[in-house]
Amino acid sequence: MIKQEIIEKISKYFKLTQYEAEKIYDDIFAGIVQGVKDDNIADITNLGEFIIKYENGGTGNKKNVEFLPTLSLEEEINQRSFEEQRTFEPAPYVNPLEAFKSETNTPDEKGILPVSKEVPDIFSRTEEIISKEQPVSQSSLAEEEIRRRRQEILSKITTPKVEKQSLPFEKESVIVPPVVIPPVFQDSKQVFEEKTTIEKAAELEVEAEKTLLSTTNKIEKEISTNITEPLIQEKSEVDKMSESSFSDFFSELNEPVKNTEIPLEKIELPSKESVIPPSAVELHNELTGDKSKSDLSFSPVTQPPVLNGNGSGDSSEHKLKDDSYYIWYKDSEPNVSDTQTMSYEYELLYQATKEAEYKSKLRIYVTTFILFFSVVLILLIFSPVIYKYFFTPKETDQNTEEVQDESGVNQVDPNTSPTDENQNGTQQQNNAGVTGPNTNPVTGTDANNTPPVTVQPKQEIPKQETPKQETIKKEPPKEEEGKKDQTIKEKPKKTFKKDLTKKETTTEQKTTSPSNNNSTLPKGITKNTMGWLDEINKVMYIQLESGKFTIQESAWDSEAKANKRISSIESFMSGLKGTTVAFDMGAKGTWYRARFGEFTSIEEARVKAAEMRSRERTRLHALILSIFLYT
């Protein structure tokens, strides 16, 4: 029996013929026998060990085999025994019909008519029907008892309608129509009457039989339709589930569902939970009186542990007998989907923070770079203006230094060579009238030659009108002018020599020195060898040969620079014409002086110079302001 089952299973799952499966089955046990014979031991997983046992003290000839089952198998067997212990012992079924028969037999002992023998035949059919209804009750096997009890519980829980329907059937089956058995009489009349009564009773019995037959037919139909079919189906399902094992869910074939009779989809584990619901188990425990039994005791197949994501099942929750759990973490791996989601969320957060940090940093970098670059650009753009603003005073100083050097040279010369002074003195005597007001009274010759009438140059220009009062003094300026014009005319020709320049400077010094003492000059203007130095506006006023005054704004070492300066000033000073005048400085080279306009008086020139400087300053301020605004 078992052999045939296994062979069929093997042939079905592995697509083998019956012969091949049978051969394999035989070979398995033959292999075990051979293994025991060769190695004295055969260890079969999940079954046990077959060991040779020598019966005569180990040295005897006869060998026997001892089987040591595995612990798991022993546990399974003991679990079965535990179930057996708690199996419900049903009360002996007392058929009421039998009781009735026994009751009917009693009058038979007393002398029942043979007619009454038909009655048991009538009830035997109902008995058969009832026996069909409850065939399990007559079985003596404990296993079948257990199964029947389970089935009853299941029918109570899962199909309550069936239970309701079965109630009237039970009533009908139990209730037996009453049959009146008349007493036995001795007299013939009574016998006749009895015959008539018996006939009547027989008719009644026939009628009762008909009614019973009709009712039994109805009951049979009802049983077949409502009760037996679902019960049989459920029973078959329960049998299938209880008999199903690991091998039922196991197949190497690629498409086992199509080939096998029981598709694997139907044998899914979750569906098994619905076979025996927990309420049924509880009810069963209540009925049997055992509350300590676990819920899984009646489950036909133990559920596999829930996987924890790694697929191996090692790191899963294992349920113990006392409903406690332990989790096996060995070789456990994190769930890939969880890590992915976490990493994705973290990635988003990380990117957001990084982006914010990067943006703030980038903003700082960009703003600093723009500021720095703009400052550098502005400096580059306005470098000439800045250069002019910061270095023009130096140039003017240079001019003054130049002048001072010239004057220094002139100052040194008189000390070192008085003869020259004397020689110059003769010239100065000639030029005394030329320089006139510029003559320095410090020198003795000048003191002698220069008339004290000479007035300061500022007053001199208006004094050009005043000479009317001092007729004597009119002539010398003219002569001076004539001589000065000669020297000025010589300068553009660049034919000056050092000696000449020295002489000129000495004469200029000598001529200008008296003017320093002049108190009529406006504040901030001092007389110099070259002309009048305006310390406020940082310019010099030079008297031309024509007697007019010009503004010497600056001096440059190249003509281009001087022309550039003139053009820049002419741009914001309309009506002011500039000219360049070359002057040989000897070792220092040729310098070009930027001069602007011709004015009749120093005061007029000073006003114009002040206007020029103020305009230049406002222009520069506007530029600086625009730079600041731009930044």
Partner: protein, 90 residues
């Protein structure tokens, strides 16, 4: 001899994979145990009979605070005569 040897032997003799052989053996053993649990006795031809036998507890008296030792079932194996003969034959 153990299960692996049996698997290899079966795979070689029937020209099947070791995986299949392992599955066949496991199915056979499992079905055998199921039958044994169900009927209490399983007979394998030319091999022997597996039988579940009741073994009473050996405890004569019970100590205080000690769990009661219950009687348990024991799996017995009765080898077939063919098995014994094959063992004893040289």
């Amino acid at each position: 001899m153990n299960t692996i040897d049996l698997i290899n032997k079966l795979a070689v003799s029937h020209n099947i994979t070791t995986g299949r052989a392992e599955m066949i053996i496991s199915i056979t053993v499992e079905r055998l145990i199921e039958k044994l649990k169900k009927d209490g006795e399983t007979k394998v031809e030319n091999f022997g009979i597996f039988r579940i036998m009741r073994k009473s507890s050996e405890q004569n008296y019970m100590k205080m605070d000690e769990p009661v030792q219950l009687s348990k079932n024991v799996l017995a194996f009765e080898p077939d005569t063919a098995f014994i003969e094959s063992l004893n034959s040289k």
